[in-house]
C-alpha cells in the first residue's frame, strides 16, 4: 500500500509515494538519499536516527513516513549554516574529540540542537540526562559531555566558536 507524502526536509520540499510500512528514517535515507540519519536499532532505543520534526527531536525510526506528510524535518545535513562550514555544535564535537566511529553522532547532534535551545547553560548532569537517550559504544561519553558543554559556551557567545588545533 502506497501513499503520497509531501514533506519539507532541511528547507526543501519533496513529494514522494511511500510504502505505508516505511518509517521516516526509510524515507530520508532511501528516498531522499539523506544518509546522515543513521539507523541503529530501529526500535527507538539507540537514538542514532534522531531528527528534528517540526523543530522537536524525535526518533525517525518510530514514525511512519506517511505521518510526515505536511510537516518539516531537519536532519544532520541541514544543521550547518552553509557550504563547508560546520555548526558550532559540530565544531565543538571536532575540537573536543566528541566522536570516534561517528555512527551515533548525527542523532546526538540533533538532540543537542534542541537541548541547547532549552538549556543554554546546561550542567554536566543535565547533559548526561539528555545523553541517556543515545547509545555510543566508542567514546565512553566523557568527551561528548565536554563537546556539548563547549558548544553551549560557543553558542552563548562567551567565547568564539572552538577552533580545531
Amino acid at each position: 500500500m502506497k501513499r503520497a507524502v509531501r514533506v519539507t526536509v532541511n528547507g526543501k520540499d519533496y513529494e514522494r509515494a511511500v510504502d505505508v510500512r516505511s518509517t521516516l528514517a526509510d524515507l530520508l535515507r532511501e528516498d531522499l538519499d539523506l544518509t546522515g540519519t543513521h539507523v541503529g536499532c530501529e526500535h527507538g532505543v539507540c537514538g542514532a536516527c534522531t531528527v528534528l520534526f517540526d523543530g522537536e527531536p524525535v526518533r525517525a525510526c518510530l514514525m511512519l513516513a506517511a505521518q510526515a506528510d505536511g510537516h518539516e524535518v531537519t536532519t544532520i545535513e541541514g544543521v550547518a549554516p552553509f557550504g563547508e562550514a560546520l555548526h558550532p555544535i559540530q565544531e565543538a564535537f571536532w575540537a573536543k574529540h566528541g566522536l570516534q566511529c561517528g555512527y551515533c553522532t548525527p542523532g546526538i547532534i540533533m538532540s543537542a540542537c534542541a537541548f541547547l535551545k532549552e538549556h543554554p547553560a546546561p550542567t554536566d548532569g543535565e547533559i548526561r540526562e539528555m545523553l541517556a537517550g543515545h547509545l555510543c559504544r566508542c567514546t565512553g561519553y566523557h568527551f561528548i559531555v565536554d563537546a556539548i558543554a563547549e558548544a553551549a559556551r560557543a553558542l552563548a557567545g562567551s567565547r568564539p566558536a572552538p577552533t580545531v588545533e
Partner: protein
C-alpha cells in the same frame, strides 16, 4: 521497513476513528504517538492488519484543567504534559522525567501510554493514585472507565476493540497535599524495575485525611495499595507509622521475577521506596485549616 504489511487509515476526527474501529474490530490498532506500537510492529510482536492513525484528529488534542480535574486528550504528548507540569504539578513533572527520553516524550502520548498498559510504566500508576479515569468512545456511545477498572493484565485493558480512548482524567491532589515519587531502573529512561508514588494530605489535627500509595513494575498491572493506605488513614503520620504502612504495602505485593530482578528483590525495593515516597510526601504536606 520492518513491520508486517498493514493497511493505513488516517482518521480525520474522533468520529472517523471510531467508525473505522467499528468497521475493522480487533484487526485494527490505534496509532497515536507510536512510541510503543511501532517498536512492537518492528519486532513483529504485533501484527495488526489495519493501523488507524489518530494524529490528524485535532478534536482529540488538548489539555485542560478545570475544577480540580486535569483532562488530557488522546493526542496530548507527554512533553506537553511535562510543560504544563513544570508550573502546575511537581508530581507529574517528576514522574514524566522518568518516562523514557525527551525525543520519545515529544511523540509519545499520555493516553497512549495509559492504555498501552505496560505494568512497568509510570503514568498508569499516577492514574490510580490520582483517582483517574479513561474516557472510551465507540460508535454510538461513550463511557468513563475508572482507573481501578482499566488494567487487567500486562498490555491488556478493559477497552473493547471497537473503543477509542479519547481522553484521560486525573483528579489533582487536594490543596496542601504532599507527594512523593521514586523509581529504580537499570539506566535512566529504562523501564522501572520497581516504582512507587504517594499522595498524602493532613487534616487540621495533623492526622492523615487522604492517602494514596501506588506501585508499578511489581506485577502484571499497576497496583494501588489498599493495605498501605488503610494503615495511614486517620492516623498521625509518625515515622514509625509510615514505615509500618510501607511494610504492609510491600507485604501485599506479589511481583514477578525476571532476568533483571528477582521477585524478592522487587518486594524489598518496593518497601524501601514506599517508605521514602511517604516520607517525602509528608515533608511536602501543608496542614489544613
Amino acid at each position: 521497513m520492518k513491520p508486517a504489511p498493514f493497511e493505513y487509515v488516517a482518521a480525520s476526527s474522533a468520529a472517523d476513528a471510531v467508525e473505522t474501529l467499528r468497521r475493522y474490530g480487533d484487526e485494527a490498532k490505534v496509532l497515536a504517538g507510536g512510541q510503543s506500537l511501532i517498536p512492537m510492529l518492528a519486532l513483529r510482536l504485533a501484527r495488526p492488519s489495519v493501523l488507524v492513525d489518530i494524529n490528524g484528529c485535532v478534536d482529540l488534542d488538548g489539555l485542560t484543567e478545570s475544577g480540580g480535574t486535569l483532562t488530557v486528550g488522546a493526542l496530548a504528548r507527554q512533553s506537553g504534559l511535562e510543560r504544563w507540569a513544570r508550573t502546575r504539578s511537581p508530581l507529574f513533572a517528576e514522574a514524566l522525567g522518568w518516562v523514557a527520553h525527551a525525543p520519545i516524550r515529544n511523540r509519545g502520548t499520555v493516553v497512549g501510554s495509559l492504555v498501552h498498559a505496560d505494568p512497568a510504566s509510570e503514568l498508569p500508576a499516577l492514574l490510580l493514585c490520582l483517582d483517574g479515569a479513561v474516557v472510551a468512545r465507540r460508535k454510538g456511545g461513550e463511557r468513563v472507565i475508572p482507573a481501578d477498572k482499566v488494567y487487567l493484565a500486562p498490555l491488556a485493558t478493559s477497552l473493547e476493540s471497537d473503543e477509542l480512548a479519547t481522553a484521560a482524567r486525573f483528579t489533582l491532589p487536594p490543596e496542601g497535599a504532599g507527594w512523593g515519587f521514586a523509581e529504580v531502573a537499570r539506566r535512566h529512561g529504562d523501564f522501572a524495575l520497581v516504582g512507587c508514588a504517594a499522595v498524602l494530605a493532613l487534616d487540621g489535627s495533623g492526622a492523615v485525611s487522604h492517602a494514596r500509595l501506588g506501585f508499578f513494575g511489581v506485577g502484571g498491572t499497576p497496583v494501588r495499595s489498599g493495605p498501605g493506605e488503610a494503615a495511614l488513614a486517620g492516623q498521625q503520620p509518625t515515622p514509625a507509622r509510615l514505615a509500618e504502612a510501607a511494610k504492609a504495602a510491600a507485604a501485599a505485593l506479589s511481583p514477578d521475577g525476571d532476568l533483571h530482578a528477582s521477585a524478592g528483590y522487587r518486594k524489598t525495593v518496593a518497601g524501601t521506596l514506599a517508605e521514602r515516597v511517604l516520607t517525602a510526601a509528608l515533608g511536602r504536606c501543608r496542614r489544613a485549616g
